[in-house]
Symmetry: D2
Subunit: 361 residues, 4 copies
């Protein structure tokens, strides 16, 4: 079940960077949701490499086909199978990969695990795998929006030391999409673009932080004790390529406060139980409390750089390998739709789980 | 399945802080492992509150009974049921909790979710729930040690701004256990103890970081793409009470490096594929690469403080609540065995999963 | 997960015939259901051996304790842990079992699988394991009755060639419980009792059929394509000790009809879509259609007989073994509450699953 | 997870009779297994309707494409996605199905459950769904054969009252495939063909029994207590379209024997623990005992008949409906590869589960 995610809204992704394509099967989608490929394509386009001048152009269109699960434009409640063909083979660009393990990539570990690997384009370890997630996430976002009034959004919060100033409660998708780096703080975005361009010219890469928010989640979602909402979000984010860390609400910074400083005091407001601050990040004891959910995901500088690096061959000899081909010096802008997708998948799954157990009560 | 963890080595915890006790059922344990309560009790003792002068004493012995799954001191392969009685009722200390939601606790969210809550001692939200995890984790650690030669260890790495200097590759359990704060750096430990004592006198609490390591994990454990080793570790850690963040290897700090700086270069060493640095934290593409696995978990300052705080009553009126009863100003020393337990549970589960799929290959 | 059953209303049973007891953890129970041990004990009493003159008396009281998951008599939504102590050790009666495999029991296969076995009383293979199922089933039956208006009932339909005449639509629990063989057809029951007594005197055993019914299941429960309602019922029934077969609706007899004879024609009746006949057994395409659900379970003559039989020792030598101790010549009356329990567990799980996915639609 | 089957060798099927096709994702397949479409196609061809004169011809080729999970003809350990296009649309043949519920089909129950249905060709309820199972089953059979020396086989045992005489231990695939009804008893096969042709001429349908066998299963496969081998087989078989019953070993006939007659006595033979008879059907206490596994599956006469029948419209009015289009009077020959597939899926899953838990012991 390594390739499945979710308990009730369960997705299974498949596909390698080369071969017949990549895809996803979504099981457990509620019936009678209006759904066509047009609901999915925009997020796939946001995920696609080569969208802007800061990366190597890439021709793939990543056009999603819905093969099953809908009828006359509505979901049936049966599995939704989505397929995106592989078009941009270019396996020649990667031929040296056949005989050498790329440093800090998963070439070696896949080989160690399976005794075989699909070297062209990284096989299953390619970020193309996330196409299935993003497609399924688009459905999840639609369910959250239409059935629960919940909005999920992510944006680039930091590139190296360049941090953006973002109002989590009010930031809009249009602001995120207003620049190629997907940072809603225009001034920071400019600096980020320059830093990324510089890294690109240097054949190097850089990392940063994507922040995710969910607005409108009602109190009560989340399953104690293992499937806490933040635990499932953490897993979701750490399952993304190149991610190295996750924190929620006050996160790692919480350790600098005392308990009296950190506690979110409850107050009635508009007939609702609210908190005066939101260091909890909208989740207490693993269950949503009705406040804004927010969290951060750290992405390392991606491993593909255009420099020669020491490494080991598949025959276990020391050797060297120089990065070639497509160069995407900063994964963050493309990670934004991935973070949104995984967030939405976690939330819709918990919405259904809550409905299952407590809809009766 | 909210109360279960693991796919093949699957634990299910149960119990509230008041009532018949707390416990765990471990399903999927390999047969013929020597196992008695004596294998479990030491970790339960490490987890138990009131172990040292830095917390309020507590009388509970938390004695584990193995009710099933063993015969003549060996595991049968059938479910292992472990039970720890609740002895220290003291429900009077908590009576105000019946009518008010404690700030930054889960009282409100449980009520919002279930429409009912067991208020004495926090019910299911009490840290007593972790008894089952720690008991199961002790079994997992034993399996890892005896069947796979893997050692799991955790320690307090930081309390507020006091950071310890620890050699991850060499630190020993005896060093961790050499002081009440479970920090193997004696000088830092002294400062931490003083900080915790100060917080205790102030009726306040403080947070920090626990670091976990696993040594001897062979290359190949971990399941792409969703059940990556770091993803499951992240979930495991974020399911612990009071945890707010997780990072692995270079983690959040990775964003300050460039790709060329960050990449772990492969080199042959002693006939094995090794890396010159270990910013990956022993995991690449979700699969162990044979290097040391290490990660950090941030714990917030716990919510229970001895001050009066604004809050809301169960009748949805603004009110105030003052912490009373037991005061544990820093959860970190007790979190150490919890982090070890969850790490071991993740690893043994992945060991069995790897054996299932690739044992054939 | 071998010891767990159900997706959303998930039970995990544990325990051997000897040791600390047997029990079950029920996860996913809706909150705010009135529940005390008194709701569970009656079915445990029905399941208990030695209830009547047709079996060897046995002293165990099988008193259920609810250790967690309730507060002030109501379910919390947290795991319900139920424990029944083992009291009637008598391991001397079984000492020969330590060295020989009982024919048609699971002694050999457990040993072959695990390399170890708890021989006293059959260990995990003992029918005592079903205590956990029956306890959990009592909760499931209560949920079905109170929240969904669904009634589950089972009864002995046939012992060897003695078949009962039962009106599935109208048979009542009181009729089932009116005699020691749990057959609501009094005349057949008398014959059955005589047959069982005769078998008992002969130190032999006999099998038969238990029929299960569920009334009031609304159209729409059941999950195509693998978790069809009849598929989950089949699994549930074949997981019971000594069961050898299952059929639903017209079952094996359907093969004697042609399609035109067999089809259940739809007709409107009282504003509802009904069928004129019910050969489908209330399930079509894996989903309930609103008609009575009924099915049959075949139980073999139990393996424990009071005769000397050829067998093999644990040292793999041919030998002989004579049954001793308690003799229960016909498992059917005790299987009745087991069949009810498993039926209720399947139905409540599917009710929650339906609510999860389609409650939204 | 309704559309997934298996714990470790997990398949997820998708697709409706009309739309982009049908398919399956196989997760958990061991790596380095030689695999191309040629391994899958023969079973798909056996499953395909219209193979012989006893049914309406159908043009679909049902050609399988492997879209992922292999490289250079070997499995990678990553998900194997298999796709079969829908080619034979002919939706006009089914237009009346848009407004009426076919008797004893799943049209009504799907509508009751989901509030929407894909009426052309029955949508998800079409037997085309089994393509995914059969494709995955072909892989499972190959693993069993090559890695475990286990052979799975099924055949038509009975059509209405015409019962075949088959030597379970020795029957070969070539004998099964030697006639269009897939019954290895030539004399019985002739009678069956005549009965089916007669039913076809009458526009009617008939049912029967498929028997499945597995040879070479070692002692120890199967997971007590819920995931017993026979329980999982029962579920697998009852998940097949038109199946109504399952029994294993002596099955329903066991009830006519006494315990002394029924017990399988153990004897050493060739250094192995064997049984003198095999009424257990190769499974004791849910675990294989090394003997031949065999079981029966009852299939009802299929619901599609060429006669006018009373039914109800989607507007809930009484009406009539006459079967049109393709007529397959007996599903049994095509059910044979389905039974094999499901058997193989159960067995390989249990093989991996056994290896996971007990490979260590």
């Amino acid at each position: 079940m390594a390739n499945s995610f979710g308990e009730l809204f369960r997705i299974t992704t498949w596909g390698e960077s080369h071969g017949g394509g990549v895809g996803v099967v979504v099981d457990g989608c509620p019936p009678r949701l209006a759904l066509t490929a047009a609901d999915i394509q925009p997020d796939l386009d946001r995920r696609r490499p080569g969208q802007s001048k800061i990366v190597t152009p890439r021709k793939e269109t990543d056009a999603a086909q819905i093969l099953s699960g809908t009828f006359d434009g509505y979901t049936l409640g049966t599995p939704i199978s989505i397929w995106v063909k592989n078009e941009d083979a270019r396996s020649e660009a990667y031929s040296e990969m056949a005989t050498k393990f790329r440093p800090s990539h998963a070439d070696f570990t896949y080989f160690a695990k399976y005794g075989i690997r699909a070297w062209p384009g990284g096989g299953r370890t390619s970020a193309r795998e996330t196409i299935g997630r993003v497609a399924a996430g688009a459905i999840a976002k639609k369910i959250l929006r239409e059935r629960f009034g919940v909005e999920v959004l992510a944006y680039v919060k930091q590139v190296q030391r360049i941090a953006a100033d973002v109002d989590r409660e009010r930031v809009k998708l249009s602001e995120v999409e207003s620049n190629i780096v997907r940072c809603p703080d225009a001034a920071a975005a400019d600096k980020m673009v320059r830093a990324i361009e510089k890294a690109r010219r240097a054949g190097d890469s850089l990392g940063g932080i994507v922040e995710g928010v969910a607005r409108g989640v009602p109190p009560g979602w989340g399953e104690p004790v293992f499937d806490r909402l933040e635990a499932d979000l953490a897993k979701a984010m750490l399952s993304l390529p190149a991610s190295k860390g996750f924190d929620v609400g006050s996160g790692f910074d919480s350790i600098l406060m005392s308990g009296t400083q950190h506690n979110d005091l409850f107050r009635m407001k508009g007939g609702k139980v609210r908190t005066l601050t939101n260091r909890s990040g909208g989740i207490q004891g693993g269950i949503s409390n009705g406040e804004l959910i927010y969290f951060r995901v750290a992405f390392k500088p991606v491993a593909t750089v255009m420099h020669e690096q020491a490494t080991v061959s598949v025959e276990f000899k020391n050797t060297k390998l120089k990065g070639r081909g497509r160069h995407d010096p900063c994964v963050l802008p493309r990670a934004v739709p991935m973070v949104e997708a995984m967030t939405a998948l976690v939330l819709v799954d918990h919405a259904l789980r809550h409905q299952a157990q407590c809809g009766l009560a």
